[in-house]
Symmetry: C2
Subunit: 87 residues, 2 copies
């Protein structure tokens, strides 16, 4: 999922249909689309995304009944760097 979210346009249908005007949350993908691509149950995908958000790897914004997730590049890169230097 993390890798898919590197290229949302390539891996998911166009997003933002339910995002209100004036809001800026580029690169976010709603749970349903991620779930469909993953082929896992809705509950599984929802909880994975939630975990990754709590871990800081993703950030999420809710618009109405939709929740959009996108990568938090800062923490992802920090983690990658941490691994690379300390492993």
């Amino acid at each position: 999922m993390l890798l898919w979210l590197k290229e949302p346009d390539k891996n998911f249908p166009a997003q933002g249909a339910h995002i209100p005007k004036g809001v800026n949350f580029v690169g976010g993908v709603c749970v349903g689309d991620i779930q469909e691509k993953a082929g896992l149950s809705q509950s599984t995908v929802s909880s994975y995304l939630n975990m990754m958000q709590k871990a800081g790897l993703l950030e999420s914004f809710r618009y109405g009944q939709w929740t959009y997730y996108r990568r938090n590049e800062d923490t992802i890169q920090a983690l990658a760097e941490e691994i690379r230097t300390n492993i």
Copy 2:
């Protein structure tokens, strides 16, 4: 264990008492010393080390009844780099 093996001198007793003259395997630590430090059973540690060796993260050499393991920096660094660039 991987991290301990970054600094064998610091984390383990002096090695090489059973390594024959003329052989060059610096930085290797025998299973028994790793097991003692880990506080896990002998079988567990042995199998972990074996797995890591099969995965390419460690290399091992046997001298008599002793097996010495040390880090394979090349593959470890390659893995780290792979993670950093593709995550």
